[in-house]
């Protein structure tokens, strides 16, 4: 079954994604892991606690932020191939450029609850493509 790691410091944003997954016939069975910042996520990945099919990454978080996390992951051999989709409020061109340069699966701007159906469908299609 798919495993998703949500890296976001905002509990309501995390709930929004979890609710969207619950409404999808396949994604509702996915195992969802969460982390409040890059450091927490790195610890969970390096310890082997989480081996996600895909990672959803927020950029603005206290502690290690999204771009710093991306840097760490891409320069760590055991983690460099992880699939990461950026999900953030930031529309800043600099952020988009920096994130894209680090080989992300996609860059999506956070929206109100209703609009996550498309994202969930997209994630389902992606996960079923890449799952071994």
């Amino acid at each position: 079954m798919f495993s998703v790691l949500l890296i976001d410091d905002d509990s309501v944003d995390v709930m929004t994604l979890q609710r969207s997954f619950r409404k999808h016939p396949i994604m509702k069975k996915a195992k969802i892991h969460t982390a409040k910042n890059g450091r927490e996520a790195l610890d969970k990945l390096l310890s082997g606690e989480v081996d996600p099919t895909i990672i959803l990454l927020d950029l603005n978080m206290p502690g290690m932020d999204g771009l710093q996390f991306l840097d760490h992951v891409r320069s760590t051999e055991s983690l460099s191939k992880l699939r990461i989709l950026v999900l953030t409020t930031s529309a800043d061109r600099n952020d988009i450029q920096q994130a894209t340069d680090k080989c992300i699966v996609g860059y999506i701007k956070k929206a109100k609850a209703g609009d996550y159906t498309t994202l969930t469908d997209l994630l389902y299609h992606y996960c079923s493509l890449t799952e071994k």
């Binding site: 905002d10 502690g63 409020t89 930031s90 609850a113």
Partner: protein, 238 residues
């Protein structure tokens, strides 16, 4: 001719700083001020769904509670932002300040409880604007208490002076700030922990920095093996 050039340079520098601040504010406002609104919108939507489908549960109640706490959070963010914008607008009168008296009035309004406050001072009094100095000390000592992992600890306040400036150092034995977060600690809206874990606008240190600079001083984190140590200077009106 040189003093005119210097004044001009100073003005240009001030303007550059002001513009940078405005740019940063615009970027950060779009994230930190919109976040509570987005949460409120989502939570309201889920509550509506529950009401429409006739299934109001404990979860619905908890969503309502979260909504209200986000409203409070946003309110505080805006209040702190306004306080920040107002720094330096009104110059208070200079007064003779007794150090014991100053520390006592600051501690009075903080949840000190089991914390120990130690004052190490080379002077007993000095002349300065009282209110902004109290604000700075309240913020720094308040932060030390708020972020401490235990219910008790030690906070040390060091006070020294030279001909031009007073120097204050506020140190604690708390968790400190990780080196990687120190650079951004004084920026607007930057919090140490997620707001869902520790409520805070993230404006505290930005406010403190602005006040210190408006008093002709500088502020920074002093390298220390444990805990947090912040040092700031303040114009000495001898």
């Amino acid at each position: 001719m040189t003093t005119e050039n210097e004044t001009l340079k100073e003005l240009v520098h001030k303007l550059q700083r002001a513009n940078e601040e405005l740019e940063r504010f615009a970027y950060v406002a779009s994230h930190d001020l919109k976040a509570p609104l987005r949460a409120i919108s989502n939570l309201a939507g889920w509550i509506k769904e529950d009401i429409d489908s006739g299934s109001v549960t404990a979860e619905t109640q908890s969503h309502l509670k979260m909504m209200l706490s986000r409203v409070t959070r946003m309110d505080k963010l805006l209040d702190d932002l306004l306080t920040y914008a107002r720094v330096g607008k009104n110059k208070d009168s200079l007064e003779l300040i007794e150090i014991d008296d100053l520390i006592n009035s600051v501690i009075e309004v903080l949840p000190i409880k089991k914390f120990e406050i130690i004052v190490e001072s080379g002077l007993s009094s000095f002349v300065a604007e009282r209110v902004p100095l109290e604000q700075v000390l309240m913020n720094l000592i308040g932060n030390s208490i708020k972020h401490h992992t235990k219910k008790s600890g030690t906070i040390t306040i060091g006070i020294e002076s030279n001909d031009t400036h007073l120097q204050f150092t506020v140190s604690d034995d708390g968790p400190g700030i990780h080196l990687s977060q120190q650079e951004e600690a004084f920026q607007m809206f930057k919090t140490l922990k997620p707001r869902d874990e520790v409520e805070g606008s993230g404006m505290g240190l930005a406010l403190v920095k602005k006040i210190v600079e408006s008093q002709g001083g500088t502020i920074g984190i002093v390298p220390s093996k444990t805990g947090l140590s912040i040092r700031f200077s303040w114009t000495n009106y001898v």
